[in-house]
Symmetry: C2
C-alpha cells in the first residue's frame, strides 16, 4: 500500500521550512517503513507568479489525490494589491473549500522548555494545553452574497454574509465533542448569540448535540468574553469550538499566549480524515530567504499528519520526541531564543531533529 | 444654562455602581457649579420586567433629550432565553442606534497602582495606554438581511450581513484620526481585507482619509494578527480603529491586558458629541446585590462624560485625581485586591472618592 503526501511549500519562509520537514518525513518513512511517496506543487503567490492562478488545476488535482498535504504558508506584500480573486490566500481558501476540509484543529500548547517566551506570567500559562476546533469551510469566509455595490445615493457599500446551516454546525460540533472526549471532557462553544442570529442557531445545535455526548461538559461563551478569558485565565479551557471568523481570531490569540507560535501546528480535515497540515504562523516575508525561520511548527505539523491522516502513531511520536530532545539540548531558532539558548539556523534545527530521530 | 444627565442603572451590579457615580457627580456639580440636573430611567432587563420592553419609549425620549447618559450595564441569565428582539441587549443596541452613537471610545490603560493585577509580565504592560475606536452603529450588528430561514432541503440556515458604506467608514475614520492627532499620532486600522470584501472597502476609505491627516502614521493589520499582537506587544499600539464586531472582541481583549477591567470606562458618541458613557465590564450577575462591585469604572466614565459631552475638563480631572488618590491609599474592591491592599465595599469605595474630591 503506497500513500501519497503532497508538499506545498508556498511563499515566504514556506519553502525553507517545508524542506526541513521533508527531510524528517523521509527519515521516518525509511525508519518505520511507512511506504510514503512524495510529490510537490505550487500554491499561493508562487503559483500566481508561475501560472497566474493562486490554485492551478494541476495543484488541485494533486491535492485531491493525495492522502495528506503538508503546506508551508502563503502570501506576501508583493501580491497584496491584487484583486481578491487573484490573491495568494485564495489558493489556501480554495484548497480548504474544494477538499471540504471543514475541521481545523489548532492546539495551543506551551512547551515547558520555552515557557519564558510567553508574554504572560508563568503561573498563568504553565502547562497550557488548549485545542481550538475551528469551522473552516463555511461562515463569513464563504457566505454569499458578497462584494461591493453602489447604493442609490451613489456611495459604495461593502457586504459579506455570515451563514451556517444546521448540518454544517453539527458536523464541526461532532468533531469538537469527540476531541473533548479524548481529552479533558470540557467543551466551550463560542458565539455571539446575544447579537447574531446565525450564532443563535449555532448555540441551539450545540445544545442538541450535547445529548449524544453525556460525558462532555458543554458551556457557551460570547466571543468578546472568550477573547478576555484567554488572556485572564487560559487554563480554564480544554476544547473550544467556534465558527470560521471567530476561530481565526481566537486561535491566533491562543497561539500567542504560548509566546512560541513558531512551534504550533494545525490540521484541517475532511470527513474522510484526508487532511492538510500547516504551521500556525504565516509566511513571514520579512525573514524569508535568510535561513533563520523556525521549522519546528512544520515538522510538528508533519507529525500531526502521520497521526491523523496516515494512522502512523509511532512515527508521529518519534518526531515529537525528537523535537522535545532538541529543545532540551537548548537549540533555538531566533524566534524562540532566550538566555542560555544556542542559536541555530533553519537548516541546523532540521538537522538536529534528524539526528535526534 | 442647565444641562441634563440621564442615569440608566440597568441590571445586575448596574444600580449599585451607578449610585456611587451619582454621588460623585452631585458633589462636583456643587463644587464646580456645573448646573447639571439628573434624571433616571429603565433599560435592559429592568425595563423588560417593568414594561415588557428593553427600551421603553419613555426611556428613549429621555435619552434623546439628555445632554449625556451614564449607563451601568444590561443583561443577566434570567433574560437569556427570551427571543432576540426582547433581550436586554436590545435596549443597549437600540440606544446606540437611535441616538446614532457611532463612535465608541475604549481606552485600555494600565493603572500603575494596579500593575500586578495583569496576567501579563510587567515589562509587557507597564505604562500601557491604548485607545480603541470602535464603530458602534453599523457592521454585522445592524446589517440586513438577518435571521434564520428554511432551505429547500428542509434544514435551517442562520444568516447575518456584515456591511459598511463609505460614509459610515469615513465618519468613524475621522474620529480615529483626530484622536490619534491628540495622542501619539499612530493609527492602526484593523480589518480582514485578505478575505472580506466589506473590509477591502474599509481599508480603501482609511487610505483615502490619510491624506487629510498627514501628521498621523496609518498602518493596517489583519484582525487575527491584531489579536496576537495585543498579547505579544500591546505597547506597539497608540490608537486602533475597527468595525463593530472586531472592535467588540479586540476592545475586551485589550481591556483584559490591564487585569483591571473594573477600572475601564467607555464613551459612545454621536456627531453632536452627545454621548452615552458606561463601564467596560458587564452586569456581573454573579456578584449583583452583594455590595462588592467596583464602582470606579463607572465613576471614571462619569469623568469622561464631563470631559467629552459636557466640556467640563476641570471637574473631569478632579474626579480622576480623586480616583488616583484612593488607589494610592491602597483601597481596593475585591476584583482588584492584592497583597497589602485594604479591601473595601462598593459604597466604601464611592465614599472614599467623595472624600478625596
Ligand atoms: C491567510 C488567511 C486567509 C488565513 C485565514 O484567515 O483563515 C489564515 O489567517 C489562517 O488562519 O489560516
Ligand atoms: C452586550 C453586548 C450587546 C455589547 C456588544 O456586543 O456591543 C457588549 O459586549 C459591549 O461591548 O458593549
Amino acid at each position: 500500500m503506497s500513500r501519497n503526501v503532497l508538499l506545498l511549500p508556498g511563499d515566504g519562509i514556506g519553502p525553507e521550512i517545508v524542506a526541513e520537514a521533508e527531510k524528517v518525513l523521509n527519515k521516518v518513512n525509511d525508519q518505520f517503513n511507512l511506504g510514503l511517496t512524495f510529490d510537490k506543487a505550487l500554491v499561493g503567490g508562487a503559483a500566481i507568479d508561475a501560472t497566474d492562478s493562486p490554485l492551478p488545476d494541476e495543484t488541485l488535482e494533486k491535492a485531491r489525490n493525495a492522502d495528506a498535504i503538508l503546506l508551508g504558508a502563503v502570501g506576501g506584500p508583493q501580491w497584496d494589491s491584487l484583486p481578491m480573486a487573484k490573491r495568494p490566500e485564495k489558493g489556501l481558501l480554495g484548497l480548504r473549500s474544494n477538499l471540504q476540509l471543514f475541521a481545523n484543529l489548532r492546539p495551543a500548547i506551551l512547551y515547558q522548555q520555552l515557557a519564558s517566551a510567553s508574554s504572560l506570567k508563568p503561573e498563568v500559562v504553565s502547562g497550557l494545553d488548549i485545542l481550538i476546533v475551528r469551522e473552516l469551510t463555511g461562515g463569513i469566509y464563504f457566505g454569499q452574497p458578497r462584494g461591493v455595490r453602489e447604493l442609490e445615493n451613489g456611495e459604495r457599500q461593502g457586504y459579506n454574509t455570515y451563514q451556517y446551516t444546521e448540518s454544517e454546525i453539527r458536523r464541526i460540533g461532532r468533531v469538537a465533542f469527540e476531541a473533548a472526549q479524548q481529552r479533558g471532557k470540557k467543551l466551550c462553544s463560542v458565539d455571539k448569540a446575544n447579537v447574531l442570529e446565525v450564532t443563535v442557531l449555532w448555540r441551539e445545535v450545540m445544545e442538541d448535540l450535547k445529548r449524544e455526548y453525556p460525558d462532555v461538559e458543554l458551556s457557551h461563551m460570547y466571543v468578546d468574553n472568550a477573547a478576555m478569558q484567554l488572556v485572564r485565565a487560559p487554563k480554564q479551557f480544554d476544547v473550544i469550538v467556534t465558527g470560521n471568523m471567530f476561530g481565526d481570531i481566537l486561535s491566533d490569540e491562543a497561539a500567542m499566549l504560548t509566546g512560541s507560535i513558531g512551534m504550533l501546528p494545525s490540521a484541517s480535515l475532511n470527513s474522510e480524515k484526508q487532511g492538510m497540515y500547516e504551521p500556525c504562523h504565516g509566511s513571514a516575508p520579512d525573514i524569508a530567504g535568510q535561513g533563520i525561520a523556525n521549522p519546528l511548527a512544520t515538522i510538528i505539523s508533519a507529525a500531526m499528519m502521520l497521526r491523523y491522516s496516515l494512522n502512523e502513531e509511532k512515527a508521529a511520536e518519534a518526531i515529537e520526541a525528537a523535537v522535545s530532545k532538541v529543545l532540551d539540548q537548548g537549540l533555538r531558532t531566533a524566534d524562540i531564543m532566550s538566555d542560555g539558548g544556542k542559536k541555530v539556523s533553519t537548516r541546523e534545527m532540521g538537522e538536529a531533529v534528524l539526528n535526534a530521530l
